[in-house]
């Protein structure tokens, strides 16, 4: 697998390279500013890009905008966006095109190296991975009387994990139940929320997210 890294802090850039290489992901380009990132994505056509939101020249949301722009040129280009802060708005902008292959994580998550690397692989495979914080916010924002209130406690837990981009197997492992039980829950959730049931993990996640951020 070939990755491009966009991160302006030398320390973190080195850390990311080290982690990816340690897990047999080839880092083909590692850049510290937005224009170079745009160029690297065009020229290298990586399997996945790991990008910091904030980058020179403006040090605002440059990385995010480059990522969105690159996905416009190449729909579904897998991008994992890293940020020091959780911004719902950024998550939503990333997910807007509905092509999947998107990750939005707090930088702290990188310290859980295993989980981070599997998130990168998942995104590279077209999956969607959102930081638990983003999901928690999405769930918390539901108003009184919304269909989410009709879910049971357990169903809501499953919905949260689903929104983080986890597969049924992973959810089952996390909640210490069988995969069968989980698919029962997911079906119930989709029915209650009036969402089209889909076998494809990613479609499913996107549907949930679209619903939550509506």
């Amino acid at each position: 697998m070939r990755a491009v890294i966009g991160e302006d802090h030398a320390l973190l850039r080195d850390g990311l390279e080290r982690i990816l290489r340690a897990h047999q992901i080839e880092v083909v380009a590692s850049v510290d500013n937005a224009p170079s990132l745009t160029r690297a994505l065009r020229e290298e056509r990586p399997d996945v890009a790991v990008v910091d939101v904030r980058m020179p020249p403006t040090l605002t949301d440059e990385g995010l905008r480059v990522a969105i722009e690159a996905r416009r040129e190449r729909p579904g280009l897998p991008v994992v966006v890293l940020s020091q802060y959780v911004e719902q708005l950024y998550a939503r902008e990333l997910l807007e095109d509905g092509d999947g292959g998107v990750g939005y994580l707090l930088k702290d998550r990188v310290s859980d190296v295993g989980a981070f690397v599997s998130a990168v692989r998942q995104v590279a495979g077209g999956g969607t991975v959102l930081d638990p914080d983003v999901v928690r916010n999405l769930l918390a924002r539901r108003t009184e009387g919304s269909p989410v209130d009709r879910l049971t406690e357990r169903e809501r837990e499953v919905l949260g994990l689903m929104a983080e981009g986890r597969s049924n197997a992973a959810i089952a492992a996390a909640l210490f139940v069988t995969e069968k039980a989980i698919s029962k829950h997911t079906n119930a959730i989709f029915t209650k929320l009036d969402l089209p049931v889909s076998a494809d993990d990613n479609r499913r996640v996107l549907a949930v997210l679209a619903y939550l951020s509506a």
């Binding site: 802090h9 320390l11 973190l12 850390g15 990311l16 080290r18 982690i19 340690a22 904030r54 040090l59 020091q84 930088k107 702290d108 990188v110 310290s111 859980d112 190296v113 295993g114 981070f116």
Partner: protein, 409 residues
Amino acid sequence: MNHIAGRPLIVLAHWVSILLSVPTLLFCALTVVGIVAAPIGIGIVLLLATVPALQLVASGQRALARVVLREPVVQEYADAKGLRPVARVRRWATDPTRWRDLLWGLYSVSIGHFLSMLSLSLLIYPLWSIVWFFLWLGMPDVFGTPFGVLHIHTTGQALLFTAVNVVVSSVLWWYAAKPLARWRFGVDSYLLGPSRQVRLQRRVDEVTISRARGADAAAAELRRIERDLHDGAQARLVALGMNLGLAAELVDGDPEGARQLLLEARDNAGDALQDIRSVVRGIHPPVLADRGVVDAIRALAVDLPVDFELQLEAPPLPAPTESAVYFSVAECLANIGKHSRASAAWVTMHPRNGLLHIEIGDNGVGGAAPEGSGLRGVASRLAVFDGTMSVSSPVGGPTIVNLEVPCVR
């Protein structure tokens, strides 16, 4: 009470005022005639000549009041340039300043004139008394009854009378000269200066501008703090997490690699702490919090590679003012460290007349620009507290920055 000019200048100013009151009377009278006759057209023509003329004598009196009172007396007229004659007169009619000029004219030729005359009379009377003495010697019949009630019969009486006159009048003049000048020119300055409303308006403008600049400065400061934390401590802590995570993975397979990563992580933690310290210091230096502005400035000077002479004394200041003073001085000292190439520098700070005066100087290469972002920041920092900054920095040095901040408790 500010210091009024010396007596010789006062005497001169009274003389010139009395001379000025002749054209003043003329232009005032003609202006009044013009106002009355304005409806029949001829008045407009008259006013076109007399109003600027009145402005001219008023400006002369302004200069005199400035010299005597040693304070600015400036006035702005409504702009009537380029207007047609009738429109110009209409503009003048709606300009309160013009009416104040006219009012001043009436005062100047009456009460003001009297006050000037009184002052000069007290000064001249001793001379006149001496002249009178010789007149009396020559013609005692004619000059024997000064004031019409006294009768001077002998030379001794005449001498005594003259002496008393000289002494009393001189003493009176000596003590009355300054108060009289203060009344006379004070009223001039009041009528010829901006009205209270205009002064308040100006003050409001100043405050509005300084408040906006202060708010900008505060916002910029917050952005800087956010960025410092984001780029410094936060990034280092993230790196720390990465290293620990990798180390945890390596601990079984590659203990030596894991050890390296753990040591690196330890350094990350130390660096993050340093970053947080420096951010905190940028927000509110511990020395300032613990020991006040004098010691805080001392602490700054200690860090600089320049010989410093410090004479610092400060009254107790409100915390925000103290903080502004500290950061202003810090900026100036940082400039000395960065740009001046100086071998010696000094900071003096002392309160006087409700103002805290601060001077920061160095013997370096000069050429500091008050428009530069650093010094501009100092100016806006101080403006919030009605403070001012002036910079003198010729090429070749020395550079001297003067700061003044009100410190009324």
